[in-house]
């Protein structure tokens, strides 16, 4: 389906010679006055330690005349440190034939107020040139930029005739922004809607429309910072979205989605409605004696065995032509030709399930890997993928066999816990896909090892990845060979054991199915795991504690924490001691139950052998920043428990205790 933007573009591109738009008087090379405060300032209390800040930014976009759309940009920055000087290197992207930058003016204002006008060269770099495409950058650097300097530049972007499109005001930036001003003169022939999906900076007033212009001012916009385990940037950055429409906009979300739901239902049913073909297909898949669940499992497995082109490597045009693959227009095509993309494969499952007598419905959902869905934004494209809802034993279950390697009854993480529209001819009803419990995605590590008298561990290790832990590994390795997969699995063990090891994969795991588990078997040697303490020997209990070693080591946090899925890790390690060695003391068992995070560890002496059991459960999906310290504290306690020592008494040495 063409996006709204593309269809608009197609509608408004006019034929004609390019005419460069002349600068409006207000956007000439005049500079805004510089205040004594701007010259003097050496830091900003709202951005302590920042190498530079943006003192002022102005973006004036004018789409009012589709023959001459253009945008004026003005930037003023204050340099505080040597690192901040890199802001003096400026690059303005240009796409030949689509937009160009001109009237570039720049200057440096030294701390004493003296001015160095930019008189250097603006270089035009050809970044990418392919047939019919030329992506350029106009680049320049300012002279004599030192800490204390102000740099400023302004330029005009001219767009091609008819290049009126949905746009954004991106408020968040790498630098703290003291003040920003945005205006848009829209193309008046179509309706325009604007929204700010992630809110606005504190104190900023929403955009307002006065006469034929929309404008907004904002102050003290914090610098955008990237952190580990943060929600997708698309859900965090401050921006204002502008969307054009040829029709009037629906003001009520319910009405909007009802209308969109009907359109989506028509599209889905139009693709799926091949009842007879589906009934014939189902007859080849299921047996009459099968229970409903078995029937559905068989249909799911068969659907997943269809060649899923979404997971194949991109082919060149020549390869595609040679393959001569026909377009797929409905589920019968998918079934008969034996291929389809992920969306089509999932709709095939819908068709087959219905043909087998199940109450099944198409559902359009919004994945949560790029941003978080908000239905009041009324953006139909946000429902970006599909699943199937099936009533099984009176319960609504969700399936997406078009997501490769996803076991029966599960969804890929980005499709869990997210809103969707269960479609019907009346527009549908809102549903939320279930989150998977932590027990659905586990890593179980079972080791049977011997301790050598030199202090090394040797033996066998079996790691079982289940649920989503198996899925992402299979997806990632789908186009790789055995050697690559072997390395991935061996690297995993190197990562979890916190010291250097020798590890060798000894089995051939099942990489190609959607089985609930992926099992890897290894031979493992951990040199020097036991350390010396005079006449005693000490063994830490956290043999597989590597991943938790550096989790949340920093004391400060800006963003909320975001986890793809809930999971559990369970370790069961048996260690045979060398003949004559004895266990002097075992650490106390540990249970740290923080409800959504649970850690247990216990050690036992089983007739000359040690048994170590460790369990970590994480049932978090999103956590507010204010709970970060509690999270950090939990993982500190995990690390502390993992470093507990078993005291051993080597042969021939008495403990003295």
């Amino acid at each position: 389906m063409l996006s709204r933007r593309l269809s608009l573009l197609a509608a408004i591109i006019f034929v004609g010679a390019a005419v460069r738009f002349s600068l409006p008087v207000s956007a000439g090379d005049e500079w805004l006055p510089i205040t004594p405060e701007e010259l003097k300032v050496t830091s900003d209390p709202k951005a302590p330690g920042a190498p530079a800040i943006t003192l002022y930014r102005q973006v004036d976009r004018d789409d009012s005349d589709p023959m001459r759309p253009h945008e004026y940009n003005y930037v003023r920055k204050k340099i505080f440190t040597e690192e901040g000087r890199k802001n003096a290197d400026v690059e303005i992207p240009v796409l030949k034939g689509q937009w160009d930058a001109h009237s570039i003016k720049a200057r440096t204002i030294r701390a004493d107020g003296s001015i160095v006008n930019f008189d250097g060269k603006v270089y035009e770099k050809e970044i990418v040139k392919a047939r019919g495409l030329k992506f350029l950058a106009k680049t320049f650097t300012l002279s004599d930029v030192q800490p204390g300097s102000i740099i400023e530049y302004h330029y005009m972007l001219d767009f091609a005739e008819g290049y009126v499109f949905n746009s954004h005001w991106v408020l968040s930036d790498d630098l703290f922004t003291k003040a920003a001003k945005f205006t848009l003169k829209p193309y008046g022939q179509w309706a325009l809607r604007w929204s700010w999906p992630n809110g606005l900076p504190e104190g900023a007033k929403p955009p307002v429309q006065e006469h034929s212009s929309i404008h907004m001012e904002a102050q003290d916009i914090p610098a955008f910072q990237v952190e580990d385990d943060m929600p997708p940037e698309g859900a965090m950055t401050f921006l204002v979205d502008f969307i054009y429409s040829e029709d009037t906009f629906e003001k009520e979300a319910d009405k909007f989605w009802k209308k969109q739901g009907k359109k989506m239902d028509d599209a889905a049913e139009g693709f799926v409605n091949k009842r007879k073909a589906m009934e014939q297909a189902v007859a080849q898949i299921v047996s009459t004696g099968d229970s409903p669940e078995v029937k559905l499992q068989k249909i799911y497995a068969k659907t997943q065995s269809i060649r899923n082109t979404s997971y194949e490597l991109e082919k060149t045009e020549q390869e595609q032509k040679r393959a001569k693959e026909k377009e797929v227009n409905n589920v019968e095509d998918v079934w008969k030709r034996g291929y389809g993309d992920g969306i089509q494969v999932t709709w095939l499952f819908l068709g087959l399930a219905r043909a087998a007598g199940f109450d099944a419905s198409p559902v359009r959902i919004s994945t949560r890997d790029d941003h978080f869905f908000k239905n009041n934004l009324m953006n139909a494209r946000d429902l970006n993928t599909n699943v199937v809802s099936v009533k099984l034993d009176g319960k609504d279950m969700y399936f997406d066999p078009g997501s490769a390697f996803t076991p029966f009854g599960m969804l890929p993480w980005s499709e869990t816990g997210t809103p969707g529209l269960k479609l019907d001819k009346d527009g549908g009803t809102w549903v939320t896909t279930p989150n998977l419990d932590s027990s659905a995605s586990q890593i179980i590590r079972k080791a049977d090892l011997s301790l050598t008298s030199e202090g090394s561990l040797e033996g066998k290790l079996t790691v079982t990845f289940s649920g989503l832990e198996a899925v992402w590994r299979r997806v990632e390795e789908r186009n790789e060979d055995e050697a690559h997969r072997k390395k991935l699995l061996e690297d995993y063990v190197k990562e979890i054991v916190p010291v250097g090891i020798d590890v060798e994969l000894t089995n051939k795991p099942d990489w190609t199915s959607s089985a609930p588990t992926l099992v890897a078997e290894y031979s493992l040697k951990v040199p020097g795991w036991v350390s010396g303490a005079g006449k005693r020997a000490l063994m830490p209990v956290g043999l597989f504690s590597g991943p938790e070693k550096h989790m949340y080591e920093h004391s400060t946090r800006v963003h909320p924490l975001y986890f793809h899925y809930m999971y559990e890790k369970s370790d069961d390690v048996r260690i045979e001691l060398p003949l004559g060695w004895q266990v002097s003391s075992l650490p106390q068992p540990v249970t740290n139950d923080a409800k959504l995070l649970v850690y247990t560890m216990k050690t036992e002496n089983e007739k000359g052998a040690l048994r170590l059991e460790r369990h970590l459960k994480c049932s978090l999906t999103i956590l507010e920043q204010k709970y970060y310290n509690a999270l950090r504290s939990f993982y500190q306690s995990v690390r502390s428990a993992d470093e507990q020592q078993i005291v051993l008494q080597p042969l021939g040495i008495s403990s003295g205790n």
Partner: protein, 680 residues
């Protein structure tokens, strides 16, 4: 480490590095895939088909592809025009080998690509063909490593069906206009064994040539007369990358071909280092002339400095910090500095610009200095290797020290037979103070360019004590196992640079502590920093330091009535660098010598005494030594250790010793003292 320290002074950079504008390229690459295909795909040429069934060169299961044929033909025509024809034929063995189906061809103002043509012979089905017009041209995006503008571009051509089992190949013709009459035959590659490598040279009458082989025994050419020579090699093994290995130029097989036009005039290949230095001197000539503004600035900066040394220091600091690193490399600009006056006016420049400006400013106070071309990785240029621009990617300065300048802060001094004492200094390196040199430039050959020629020199290796971490801690342990107290970490040399460079990039004050937290988290599972400060962050002539206090709960573990205490507490010197299954092939290279020391004093809890102590460790090797001991004095547990790296390279024959040493260190770092309730 600040990336600008490895600035480029050559016209060509590694191609793959410039593809860092992923999103743009990805979008356009996708666009390119959908562009119309040629009307009819042609068959691969006979020279490719002839290789379909040939035996593969020796390789292991991890080899992604093998190079069945690498053929280079370098031709100098009668009119002096030069062209190179490059043919490559790969057999793809593994999915990751698909990358060999994408050709990256560099070109710039002096290198034109006349044609580029690729083919695929699939295991089944008809051949594929792609031509020039399907290539994407790319250049730098953003300002990576301070390079604002460069004329180096890359043609990217994707060959269809570069899948395992298939054969892909290409032929490219380039017109070249080298600044120096040299060509390099690179016949050994990373990760790809070569079945057959051929190099052909064709010269007009009267031209001469001279070859020098690197990392490979010399092989005689076959001559077919009339100015044609051919070299051939078979079964060239791949270079397998290892951590801390020497640079590729130090291990991969190469043949450097120098050309000498008839009559001996004009541009030609270098016959000696001195000749190369003369050529470089020609590039620098006149560039150091001081403008009135430079003279004025020198006067202003030095007016209140009483000694020549102080004047030199203040000028050096000015160029290191006030001149912003920006590289604009167009044509010969990759090798030739801008005029000093221009650099000063703009207050920006690259490594050779900074060296030029400082040279100009030093001249104004009567101090002579010379350019030194060098590489930021040791192991390339050497006296027994041919002179070529290939070796160098950076430019620094050799400053002739006046007789009265004698100061204990000046370490990087070389005694030159003609010039006397020369100080090697890097004006691009804003972190290393005047008188010192960062590790990678120490004992690394560079080309000293003097007015009357020059020579290869070897900057000195500085004492290990100038580089490293000196950590002291005074701590107290409670009966419940909580450890608390104060640490002082003094970081010298590259260890200081590393922290200063990282802290420089911090966007807000609150994030400064994160570097310290990361350092400590490698040693302590649980800790709270209660106080922390930085020492000499911007005073680069002083050691950088962290001073901090922390509390670590449950640091000592209980075992019955015992307390188990790891006396090392913080700091890691061990490494798993050599914990691999594969035997080591290449020497282990260190950036520089260093010496780390720890002194940790832990006051034991009242009512406890030592039951058992870890044994002392004394490990001495020619390349490094490690000594540690844990002692008791009253209620104080004292741990001291020293780790010193003395040699910059550990040969393969001693790598097992290094592995053993790292294991000894790892063992010591985990060793534990056992405390028990006092018996009285």
């Amino acid at each position: 480490m600040n990336s600008k320290l490895s600035c480029s002074r050559s016209a060509f950079l590694r191609v793959i590095d410039r593809l860092g504008f992923g999103p743009v390229l990805a979008v356009l690459a996708v666009a390119l895939l959908s562009l119309p295909a040629p009307a009819r795909a042609g068959d691969a040429p006979q020279w490719m088909h002839a290789l379909v069934n040939v035996p593969l060169p020796e390789h292991d299961e991890k080899t992604n592809a093998v190079l069945l044929l690498a053929e280079d033909t370098f031709t100098v025509q009668g009119n002096g025009k030069m062209k190179r024809i490059e043919r490559r034929v790969y057999k793809i063995l593994r999915p990751d080998g698909r990358a060999y189906g994408t050709i990256y061809a560099n070109f710039d103002a002096g290198t034109k690509i006349n044609s580029i043509h690729g083919w695929c012979i699939p295991a089944q089905g008809k051949d594929y063909e792609v031509k020039d017009k399907e290539a994407i041209e790319t250049a730098l995006f953003g300002v990576p490593d301070g390079i604002l503008m460069s004329d180096v571009k890359t043609k990217v051509l994707t060959i269809p069906a570069a899948d395992p089992g298939n054969i892909v190949g290409y032929e490219m013709e380039q017109e070249v206009h080298p600044y120096v009459m040299q060509d390099v035959w690179r016949f050994q590659h990373i990760g790809v064994p070569v079945r057959e490598a051929h190099y052909s040279l064709q010269l007009p009458a009267g031209w001469e040539h001279k070859e020098v082989w690197l990392n490979h025994s010399e092989t005689a050419p076959a001559s077919s007369g009339s100015g044609q020579w051919q070299w051939a090699l078979t079964n060239v093994p791949a270079v397998k990358p290892e951590s801390n290995m020497p640079p590729l130029s130090g291990v991969a097989g190469r043949m450097v071909v120098s050309l000498f036009p008839s009559g001996g005039s004009g541009t030609k290949g270098f016959e000696s280092w001195s000749e190369m230095a003369r050529w470089e001197d020609g590039l620098d000539r006149g560039r150091r002339d001081a403008s009135p503004q430079i003279k004025q600035k020198v006067a202003a900066l030095t007016v209140s400095t009483p000694t020549t040394l102080a004047k030199m220091q203040v000028l050096a600091r000015f160029v290191q910090t006030d001149i912003r690193y920006v590289a604009i490399e167009l044509g010969i600009g990759g090798l030739q500095p801008h005029p000093a006056a221009e650099i000063f006016n703009h207050h920006y420049g690259d490594c050779k610009d900074k060296a030029t400006l400082l040279g100009s400013m030093l001249h104004e106070i009567g101090v002579e200095s010379f350019h030194v071309s060098i590489n930021t990785t040791r192991g390339g240029a050497a006296p027994d290797r041919p002179p070529t621009e290939e070796w160098f990617n950076h430019e620094i300065l050799a400053i002739r020290l006046p007789d009265d300048v004698k100061d204990p802060s000046l370490f990087a001094i070389l005694d030159h037979p003609k010039l006397g004492r020369i100080l090697i200094f890097d004006p691009t390196d804003e972190w290393t103070p005047f008188g010192r040199l960062r590790g990678e430039l120490q004992a690394n050959y560079g080309l000293l360019v003097t007015g009357d020629g020059g020579e290869l020199i070897k900057p000195p290796q500085l004492p290990a004590a100038l580089n490293g971490v000196m950590r002291t801690a005074k701590l107290t342990l409670t009966p419940s196992g909580t450890l608390s107290g104060d640490f002082v970490e003094q970081r010298n040399g590259d260890y200081a640079t590393e922290q200063r460079a990282s802290l420089k990039s911090v966007l807000k004050d609150a994030d400064r502590i994160k570097f310290l937290e990361s350092l400590i988290s490698h040693s302590l599972p649980t800790f709270q920093i209660t106080k922390a400060s930085l020492l000499n962050l911007n005073q680069t002539d002083q050691p950088f330091g962290y001073q901090y206090s922390l509390v670590a709960q449950n640091y000592a573990k209980t075992a019955g009535n015992l307390l188990l205490v790891r006396p090392r507490v913080v700091g890691v010197n061990s490494s798993d660098l050599l914990e691999t299954k594969e035997p080591r092939r290449y020497p282990v290279e260190f950036d520089g010598p260093w010496k780390n020391t720890d002194t940790v004093e832990i006051a034991m809890p009242t009512g406890y005494e030592v039951d058992d102590l870890p044994p002392p460790v004394n490990a001495d090797y020619s390349f490094a030594s490690y000594h540690s001991k844990t002692e008791v004095s009253g209620n104080m547990l004292k741990y001291t250790r020293t780790f010193e790296v003395k040699e910059l390279s550990v040969p393969v024959s001693k790598v097992e010793d290094l592995k053993k040493l790292y294991r000894i260190i790892a063992g010591d770092e985990r060793n534990t003292a056992v405390l028990k309730p006092a018996s009285h």
